[in-house]
């Protein structure tokens, strides 16, 4: 009757559940085995690569041993490369170095102040139809156009020399102003007034003597843009 029917359904459901579980277990096993296969394949490839490398090394060693003339040629080449590199470094240390490009030259002006290396500036020059500046990284407040107008066409050495003087002087003034702010910040009253070219510095400081403090004002003017020392100093007691 009804009970028997229900029993039958229950049994069917139980069987179905068991089958499902089996299937899921099988799936899991399959996935694990696949992953293992991948792992092993990877290992195999790695080992293969290692073997190849070893073989190549062996061959390499053999070749060297069999040809005594080769190492000498190689040593000579290495020495040549080293000396060329050293020469390039010497050029770089002179402050003005360059490299030929397809359409002209690219100059690098390196600056320094009293033993501290500072920024490098670049000029990409074209040679045809006439010498002209294609690109550059010179700061906008350096009078590059004026210097170029005067010397670029006629005397390129002088052009580079004058530009290098301007850049080195600017960088020197800036470095000194930065050092002043950094190391003497406790002695300066208020802020140090400066400008882009660092050719005008104004600051105040106090001098105390016999329990009285005297406020001083200093104005440093650098009229010569190629020098890193002031041309005019005005010290006043306010």
């Amino acid at each position: 009757g009804v009970l028997a029917h229900l029993e039958m359904l229950e049994a069917q459901a139980y069987e179905a559940a068991v089958k499902q579980e089996e299937m899921e277990q099988q799936k899991e096993k399959l996935a694990r085995l696949k992953a293992r296969v991948r792992e092993l394949r990877l290992q195999r490839d790695e080992l293969r690569a290692k073997v190849d490398l070893q073989q190549k090394r062996q061959l390499g060693k053999e070749e060297v041993v069999s040809d005594p003339a080769q190492p000498r040629a190689q040593a000579v080449l290495e020495w040549k490369i080293k000396s060329v590199k050293a020469m390039l470094e010497v050029f770089y240390l002179t402050g003005i170095s360059g490299k030929l490009t397809k359409r002209g030259v690219c100059f690098c002006i390196s600056t320094a102040y009293e033993g501290t290396y500072l920024d490098s500036y670049y000029l990409d020059l074209l040679a045809k139809p006439e010498v002209q500046i294609h690109r550059h990284s010179v700061p906008i407040f350096i009078p590059l156009e004026q210097i170029a107008q005067k010397y670029l066409q006629t005397d390129i050495r002088r052009f580079l020399s004058v530009l290098s003087d301007h850049l080195n002087a600017y960088v020197g003034r800036r470095y000194q102003a930065d050092q002043l702010q950094e190391h003497f910040s406790d002695q300066i009253e208020g802020t140090l007034q400066r400008n882009s070219l660092c050719d005008l510095l104004v600051f105040n400081y106090n001098v105390s003597s016999k329990s009285k403090t005297f406020p001083f004002n200093v104005r440093l003017l650098y009229r010569d843009l190629c020098r890193s020392l002031p041309t005019e100093v005005v010290v006043s007691c306010t």
Partner: protein
């Protein structure tokens, strides 16, 4: 304290993100530390701004201090405004000393002689930049503090960065005052605009990364590239082409980050080249067309086009010349050589 000043301070404080309000007020320096301690900076901004206004009342703030707060806000968030670049020219070689006090005096005098009702405030920053805030009035009304123009000028450079906002009619007055104060002869607007003030500075001051050929290349920074899958079964077929693209890209764009521009606009006045049978245009007239590229960061997007395979390397010089020519508005005429001219935006 004037009601308009109070309202202005309140609105300025409301603009600042809540977490930054305290630091900005400290930078302002108008309220003492003890006063700032009394404010709860965790409440809603409405209440914070009311408290701040209350403290300003105690200190009797006037429009000058309120203007300084506004300058500080705009200095920290300059990208909320659109900046244009202007270039000044001078004939002759006189290298005059740039004296800041002199500049400020001349500027104020010149501007006030043309229009009395203006509020002018200055603030200097460490990088030799002078920020000028001008609030405009008319010959018959007091300055409107909500109609402001900003000027950023670096001493001894011919470039001025102006964010004019609303009143374009006062621009000639502003330009004239700048020219007189900085001892130049004239000024004109460049075709260069962006939200990012620092990027505009990078472009005209040539501070962006250019790739120069030298025997001493600066060490390339190791980029965080995910190591290529060392699956030896994968072979790169076009490795040499990829390397060529990288090399060409680096030559054009340099190694460092690009200046941030939001758009480049090209106005074309060239003839439409079509199949004569198509007969689109009977008249042989230039086909007027405007091409605008926009992006949150246009130059970086252009830099990544070729490596992503979306464009051929090298890219068109019309796109890559943007930082070097310092312009992002172009007018292109018929090809005798395409040459960019000046463009006046509508």
């Amino acid at each position: 304290m004037d009601e308009t000043v109070a309202e202005y301070i309140r609105r300025t404080v409301l603009k600042i993100p809540r977490d930054e309000i305290k630091t900005i007020l400290q930078k302002w320096g108008f309220l003492s530390e003890t006063q700032l301690q009394t404010v709860n900076f965790h409440q809603i901004k409405e209440n914070i701004s009311q408290d701040v206004v209350q403290l300003c009342e105690e200190n009797a703030a006037d429009i000058k201090q309120a203007a300084v707060l506004d300058i500080i806000y705009n200095h920290i968030y300059p990208n909320k405004r659109v900046w244009s670049v202007y270039q000044m020219n001078k004939t002759g070689e006189e290298m005059e000393f740039f004296d800041l006090t002199d500049f400020k005096k001349k500027f104020k005098r010149r501007l006030r002689s043309a229009l009395k009702n203006v509020t002018i405030n200055f603030r200097e920053y460490e990088d030799n930049a002078v920020w000028i805030r001008i609030a405009w009035g008319t010959p018959y009304t007091k300055p409107n503090q909500y109609k402001t123009s900003y000027v950023v000028y670096h001493s001894q450079t011919p470039y001025v960065f102006i964010s004019a906002s609303v009143l374009k009619s006062n621009l000639p007055l502003l330009c004239q005052a700048l020219v007189v104060a900085s001892s130049y002869h004239d000024i004109h607007e460049m075709e260069l605009r962006s939200h990012s003030l620092n990027s505009l500075k990078d472009i005209v001051f040539k501070r962006y990364s250019q790739n120069f050929q030298t025997y001493y290349p600066r060490p390339l920074q190791e980029r965080n590239v995910a190591p290529e899958n060392a699956d030896l079964r994968i072979i790169q077929e076009n490795r040499s082409e990829k390397e060529r693209i990288q090399r060409v890209n680096r030559e054009v764009f340099g190694d460092g980050p690009q200046p941030k521009l939001e758009f480049a606009q090209y106005k074309l006045e060239t003839m439409f080249k079509s199949d004569p049978k198509m007969d689109v245009l009977d008249k042989r007239e230039p086909f007027r067309c405007l091409v605008k590229f926009s992006s949150p960061h246009l130059l970086e997007a252009l830099k990544s086009l070729a490596p992503a395979g979306m464009a051929d390397a090298p890219l068109s010089p019309l796109l890559t010349c943007i930082p070097q020519k310092a312009r992002n508005y172009f007018k292109i005429r018929e090809k005798k050589g395409l040459f960019p001219g000046s463009f006046v935006s509508p």
